[in-house]
C-alpha cells in the first residue's frame, strides 16, 4: 500500500457568505461526513457583501461539480442568463462595445479569426468585431438560447454565465452543505489559539466561550482576514497603484424594460457603475476612487444613472485591491475576500473563490500540510490573480479619456510589464501574447483592446497573402449564419419564464 499519512478529519470554515458556503458545499459533496467533519462558523450580526452578482461561464462547472440542477439553482437565486458585458464610455465618452462570452467568428487555416477581421476592416472600415459574435448579437437583441454541442452548428459558439442574488446563492449552498453533513455554528469568533511548536491553528474561540478545534481552517472572514491576516500575520500585496478605486456604493432598483441577458458597465468620472439584472430587480453599484470624488457625489451619480426607482438606501463598501502574499499558510487557507480582491469589472469574484476551492481539492493535503503542497497552491493562485489583474488594468489603461483627473491618471500610469508587452504586441500587428492556461482567452483580449480603440497599426503578414475577396465572402457567410440563428431565438425573458422563473423574489 502507498503510505497514507495522517488524514484531515476536521475542517473548520470561519465565515459564511459566498466564499464560506461555496467552500462548505464543495467539500461536503466530496468528503463523506463520517470521514471528515465540516463545521462552518458564521454570525448573523456580521453582514455579508453579497449584492447582485455577475459571473463568468466557469461557475457552471462549479454547480455541475455539486450536481446542482440549473433550473433549481436559477429559481432559488432569481438567476438570469448572461452572454457578456457591455462597456460604455470606456475608450471614449459616447462609445460602447460588447465583451462576449465565446469566440468571434471561426479560425481558419490555423490563423486567428481576428486577423481575418483586421484584413476585412481594410475594405469595411465601420465593421464592429462584435457583429461576428453570436453571444453579442443575441445579447443586443435581448435574446437567449442554450448552446448546442455539435461543433458544426453556429449555436455551439454561444457561451453563457449567470447573474443572481449572491445572498440567495449562499443560502442555497448552505442547505446543500447541511444536507450533506456540514454543521453550522452561530456566533462570532473572538480568539484564535496557535500550537506553540508548529504555529498551526488549533482552535478558534467563539463569543459564547465555545472552542472549535480543527486540522484545517478556511478563512472566509472577508476583508478582515481574521485568521490568515490578523493571527498568522500574512502580509497584503497592494495593487492600488494600478487599480485606484477603493470604495463602492451599491443599491438595487426596480427593473424596467426588457430583461437583459448581459451585464452593463459604464465608465464614470472617477470610476464606473455596474448594472446587473436579476429576475425581479436590478443590482447597481458605483465603484470609485474616494480621493477623487466624495461619497455624497458618488451616491448622487449612482442614483442618477439607475434604470428605475431605487429600492432602499445605498450601502457603502470600502475595499482594498490586491492579495495576501500567501493564500495558504500553516493549516489555514484564505478563500474569498480574505485572500484577495479585484473589483468586479470582469465578474471574476466568484471565479477566484472557485479557483481557491478547486485547487485545494486537487492538492488535498494530509494533516501535516506538506510545504510542497502549500507552495504549489500559492504559486497557482498567485498566477491566477495576476492574470486577472492584468486584464482588468487593461480597461483603465487603454482609454483615450482626458476629461477628469482619474482618467488622466489611468491613461498615463505605468502598468505591469506583462501587460505592456501584450498591448504593444497587439498594437503592432494584432498579435496576441499567449499564456496556456490564462482565464481570459484571445477573444476577450481582442474584444477589449479593439473596443477601446487599441487598434493594430497593420495587419499580420500571414493574412496579407490571402485573397481579400475570399475573406470578405467567408466573413459575410459567418455573419449571416449568426444573424439567422439569433432571429430564431426567443427573448431572454420568454426563455427564462418557461425555464426557471422564481414565483417569489429571493
Amino acid at each position: 500500500m502507498p503510505d497514507q499519512k495522517p488524514a484531515i478529519r476536521n475542517i473548520v470554515i470561519v465565515g459564511g457568505g459566498s466564499a464560506g458556503w461555496m467552500t462548505a458545499a464543495a467539500l461536503s459533496s466530496l468528503l463523506p461526513p463520517h470521514a471528515v467533519k465540516i463545521t462552518l462558523i458564521e454570525s448573523e450580526q456580521i453582514g455579508t457583501i453579497g449584492v447582485g452578482e455577475a459571473t463568468i461561464p466557469d461557475v457552471i462547472n462549479f454547480n455541475a461539480m455539486l450536481g446542482i440542477s440549473e433550473q433549481d439553482f436559477l429559481r432559488a437565486t432569481n438567476g438570469t442568463f448572461k452572454l457578456g458585458i457591455e462597456f460604455v464610455n470606456w475608450g471614449r465618452i459616447g462609445e460602447a462595445y460588447f465583451h462576449p462570452f465565446g469566440p468571434h467568428g471561426v479560425d481558419m487555416q490555423g490563423i486567428d479569426f481576428h486577423q481575418f477581421w483586421m484584413r476585412y476592416r481594410q475594405s469595411h472600415p465601420n465593421s464592429e468585431i462584435e457583429t461576428f459574435s453570436l453571444s453579442a448579437i443575441a445579447a443586443r437583441q435581448f435574446k437567449f438560447a442554450m448552446p448546442q454541442n455539435d461543433p458544426r452548428s453556429v449555436m455551439s459558439q454561444l457561451r453563457y454565465a449567470y447573474h443572481f442574488d449572491a445572498t440567495a446563492y449562499a443560502r442555497y449552498l448552505r442547505a446543500y452543505a447541511e444536507e450533506r453533513g456540514a454543521k453550522r455554528e452561530e456566533g462570532k469568533v473572538i480568539d484564535v489559539t496557535l500550537n506553540s511548536e508548529t504555529g498551526f491553528i488549533e482552535t478558534v474561540t467563539m463569543e459564547s466561550g465555545q472552542e472549535v478545534q480543527g486540522d484545517l481552517f478556511f478563512d472566509c472572514s472577508g476583508f478582515r482576514a481574521l485568521l490568515l491576516g490578523q493571527k498568522l500575520g500574512v502580509q497584503f500585496t497592494d495593487w492600488a497603484h494600478w487599480l485606484p478605486c477603493d470604495t463602492a456604493q451599491t443599491v438595487a432598483c426596480e427593473r424596467t424594460g426588457p430583461l437583459l441577458p448581459y451585464t452593463k458597465s459604464t465608465a464614470k468620472t472617477a470610476g464606473w457603475q455596474w448594472r446587473i439584472p436579476t429576475q425581479h430587480r436590478t443590482g447597481n453599484g458605483h465603484i470609485y476612487a474616494s480621493d477623487l470624488i466624495s461619497d455624497e457625489d458618488a451616491i448622487e451619480s449612482l442614483l442618477e444613472d439607475l434604470d428605475g426607482p431605487a429600492k432602499g438606501e445605498p450601502r457603502r463598501i470600502k475595499f482594498r485591491t490586491g492579495h495576501r502574499e500567501k493564500f495558504w499558510e500553516k493549516n489555514c487557507i484564505a478563500v474569498g475576500l480574505s485572500g484577495g480582491f479585484l473589483e468586479p469589472l470582469e465578474s471574476t469574484s466568484l471565479f477566484l473563490i472557485q479557483e481557491g476551492i478547486s485547487k485545494f481539492i486537487s492538492l488535498f493535503p494530509s494533516a501535516d500540510m506538506p510545504t510542497a503542497v502549500r507552495d504549489e497552491y500559492n504559486r497557482q493562485l498567485k498566477k491566477k490573480f495576476e492574470q486577472v489583474r492584468d486584464f482588468i488594468i487593461l480597461h483603465y489603461k487603454a482609454t483615450q479619456r482626458d476629461d477628469s483627473e482619474f482618467w488622466n491618471y489611468c491613461r498615463t500610469m505605468s502598468v505591469p510589464d506583462s501587460l505592456t508587452q501584450k498591448m504593444d504586441l497587439f498594437q503592432e500587428a494584432g498579435r496576441i501574447f499567449r499564456y496556456e492556461d490564462e482565464l481570459f482567452t484571445r477573444p476577450s483580449w481582442v474584444a477589449v483592446m479593439v473596443g477601446q480603440n487599441l487598434l493594430p497599426r497593420t495587419v499580420d503578414p500571414i493574412v496579407d497573402s490571402l485573397s481579400a475577396q475570399e475573406i470578405v465572402r467567408s466573413l459575410g457567410s459567418m455573419q449571416s449564419a449568426m444573424m439567422n440563428a439569433s432571429q430564431k431565438m426567443e427573448t431572454h425573458e420568454t426563455f427564462l419564464k418557461k425555464y426557471a422563473w422564481a414565483s417569489v423574489p429571493a
Binding site: P2, D3, L31, L363, E376, Q421, R431, F433, I462, S465
Partner: protein
C-alpha cells in the same frame, strides 16, 4: 511594411535552413523576398536533431509539403509510437515512452489516482505502447470507440534523407537559392549589415536568419555567446536492413552513456552518446543555448539557437517551435523591438521546458561514470524538482506555460522511471476498488485483443506504399 519589399536572408543548408525557407515562403506574400544561402548540408551537424519527432510534426511537415506519400515513398521514413528505453539507470523494467491522447478520467478522477490505489501499472492501458512493443502499427482511426483512436504517432527519420527531400522542395518552390558559403559577416553596432559570400557576392537584407548550426556564424558575429551546459560526443553508424523494425526507437543505456537504434525502412541507424572525451570518430557536441535567439536584425533557428539532448524528440520539437515562433512574429516594419522581446521570452521558456523533459531522465540513481554524473548535475532545476515532488507526493502534474511535452508524456515518463505516488486522491474512494479493477482489466484486454489483430509495422508500411502508388496512377 506594406510599401517596399522586405528581404529575408536565411543562412544554412541543413534541416533548419531548408525548413525555415519553405515555411516563410509558404506563409508570406510576395512583399517578402526570401533568399536562402545554401552552404550545403553538414551531415554531422544534423545528427544532433536526433531521429524521431513528436506527433505535432505531422501538421508541421504537411505545411512544408512533406505529407506521408512523400515521406514514405521518397525517403526511408517510418512511424514512431515512441521510444523504448532499456536498462535505464535506476529502473527495474524497460518502458515505452509512447505518444498517447489524454488519459481517461474515471468517476471524475484522473486515471493516475486509480492506479495508485489499485497498485496497477500504466503500460498495459496505453495502446500505442503495447502495439509498439509487439512491433505493430496502424493509423489511429477517428472512431472514438476504437481503442487505437487514443494512440498518437510521430516519425523515425534520417536527417540526411529529409534534407534531400526539403532541398528538392526548395528547388521547385521559387525561393531564391544561392549555393555559396559565408566568408565574412559584416556588422555594425550589433547589427548584421551584409554577408560576403565565397561566390564574390555581397548580400544585404532586412532580416537575417542564422541556421548555421553550432557554427552560429551570424549570432556570434553580433556578439552573442552560447552558454554550454554539458558536452557530449556523438557517434553514428548505419546498417542496412532487409526488413523494417518496430514503430519505436530503441534506446539502451550503458555505463558510458546510451545508444539509440532508429528503425528505418531500409536500415537501422545507430546513434551513440557518450561523454566528450575526444574519442576517435566521435563528433563533440555542446548542449546549451544562446542567451537570446533574436538580436536586432538577426534571428537564430534550430541548433544555432539551442542544442538539446537527442535522448527525446526535444531537438526536433524545438526546431519546429523556433520556426513557428518566427512565423508568429514576422516583422511588419524595419524595427524589431517588439518581435525580439516576445520571441526571446518564448524561446527561453521553450528551451527550459525542452531540456526539463530530457533532464528528468537523469535524476535516477546511475552508474558512477562521469557521463552519468555530469548529466545528473546538469539536470537539477527548481521547476523540474517541483514537478517530481508534486507527482511523488500526490500524483499532481505541475504545468508550466505551453510546454512541448504534455501531461501524458510526463505521466508515462514518471511511471517509466519508477516514480511512485505516495498518496492518491480521496475522491477515488467514491468508486469501489473492485469496480475499477474490472474496468481497467477490460481496457487492457480490449487493447491486447486489438493489438493482436494489427499488422506488423513493416507490413503496414509496404501496404500503405502500394496504396500510395495506386493512387498516383489512378
Amino acid at each position: 511594411m506594406q510599401r517596399s519589399e522586405f528581404k529575408i536572408v536565411i543562412c544554412g543548408g541543413g534541416l533548419a535552413g531548408l525548413m525555415t525557407a519553405l515555411a516563410l515562403h509558404g506563409a508570406l506574400s510576395s512583399a517578402y523576398q526570401i533568399v536562402l544561402i545554401d552552404e550545403g548540408e553538414d551531415a554531422d551537424d544534423d545528427l544532433s536533431y536526433g531521429s524521431v519527432t513528436l506527433p505535432t510534426a505531422y501538421d508541421f511537415l504537411r505545411g512544408l509539403g512533406l505529407d506521408e506519400p512523400v515521406l514514405f515513398s521518397r525517403s526511408n521514413t517510418s512511424f514512431s509510437f515512441g521510444s523504448h528505453y532499456v536498462d535505464w539507470p535506476g529502473t527495474d523494467t524497460d518502458w515505452i515512452q509512447c505518444h498517447h491522447q489524454i488519459l481517461p478520467v474515471i468517476g471524475g478522477v484522473p486515471l493516475n489516482h486509480h492506479l495508485t490505489r489499485n497498485q496497477r501499472s500504466l503500460a498495459p492501458l496505453l495502446i500505442s505502447g503495447v502495439a509498439a512493443r509487439h512491433g505493430k502499427f496502424a493509423h489511429p482511426p477517428n472512431d472514438a470507440s476504437n481503442p487505437l483512436s487514443r494512440a498518437e504517432y510521430g516519425y523515425q527519420f534520417s536527417a540526411h534523407q529529409w534534407t534531400r527531400l526539403l532541398a528538392e522542395k526548395v528547388q521547385t518552390s521559387g525561393v531564391s537559392r544561392s549555393a555559396s558559403s559565408i566568408e565574412t559577416v559584416n556588422t555594425d553596432n550589433g547589427e548584421v549589415i551584409s554577408l560576403d559570400l565565397t561566390s564574390g557576392e555581397t548580400i544585404t537584407a532586412d532580416l537575417f536568419i542564422d541556421c548555421t548550426g553550432p557554427a552560429r556564424k551570424l549570432l556570434s558575429a553580433v556578439g552573442h555567446s552560447f552558454a554550454t551546459i554539458r558536452r557530449i560526443s556523438l557517434t553514428h553508424s548505419l546498417k542496412s536492413a532487409s526488413q523494417l523494425g518496430p514503430a519505436c526507437r530503441r534506446v539502451q543505456a550503458s555505463a558510458q552513456g546510451w545508444s539509440a537504434h532508429t528503425f528505418l525502412q531500409d536500415s537501422v541507424h545507430t546513434l551513440m552518446i557518450q561523454k566528450d572525451d575526444k574519442a576517435v570518430d566521435a563528433t563533440p557536441y555542446a548542449l546549451g543555448a544562446l542567451d537570446v535567439a533574436w538580436h536586432n536584425n538577426t534571428v537564430a533557428i534550430g541548433a544555432a539557437a539551442s542544442a538539446h539532448d537527442p535522448l527525446t524528440p526535444g531537438p526536433m520539437v524545438m526546431l519546429q517551435r523556433d520556426i513557428e515562433r518566427l512565423l508568429d512574429l514576422i516583422p511588419v516594419a524595419r524595427t524589431f523591438d517588439m518581435e525580439q522581446r516576445e520571441f526571446n521570452r518564448r524561446f527561453q521558456n521553450d528551451v527550459n521546458h525542452t531540456d526539463m523533459f530530457a533532464n528528468a531522465f537523469y535524476l535516477n540513481e546511475a552508474p558512477t561514470s562521469s557521463f552519468w554524473s555530469e548529466a545528473a548535475s546538469a539536470a537539477q532545476s527548481p521547476d523540474l524538482n517541483r514537478k517530481i515532488v508534486q507527482f511523488e507526493s500526490r500524483g499532481i502534474l505541475t504545468k508550466f506555460d505551453l510546454e512541448p511535452f504534455n501531461d501524458e508524456d510526463w505521466t508515462v515518463l514518471h511511471h517509466g522511471l519508477g516514480r511512485r505516488v505516495a498518496r492518491y486522491d480521496l475522491q477515488v474512494e467514491a468508486t469501489a476498488r473492485l469496480d475499477i479493477d474490472q474496468q481497467l482489466d477490460g481496457m487492457a484486454r480490449a487493447i491486447e485483443q486489438l493489438v493482436g489483430r494489427m499488422p506488423p509495422h513493416h507490413v503496414y508500411v509496404s501496404n500503405m506504399k502500394r496504396y500510395f502508388e495506386k493512387q498516383k496512377y489512378a
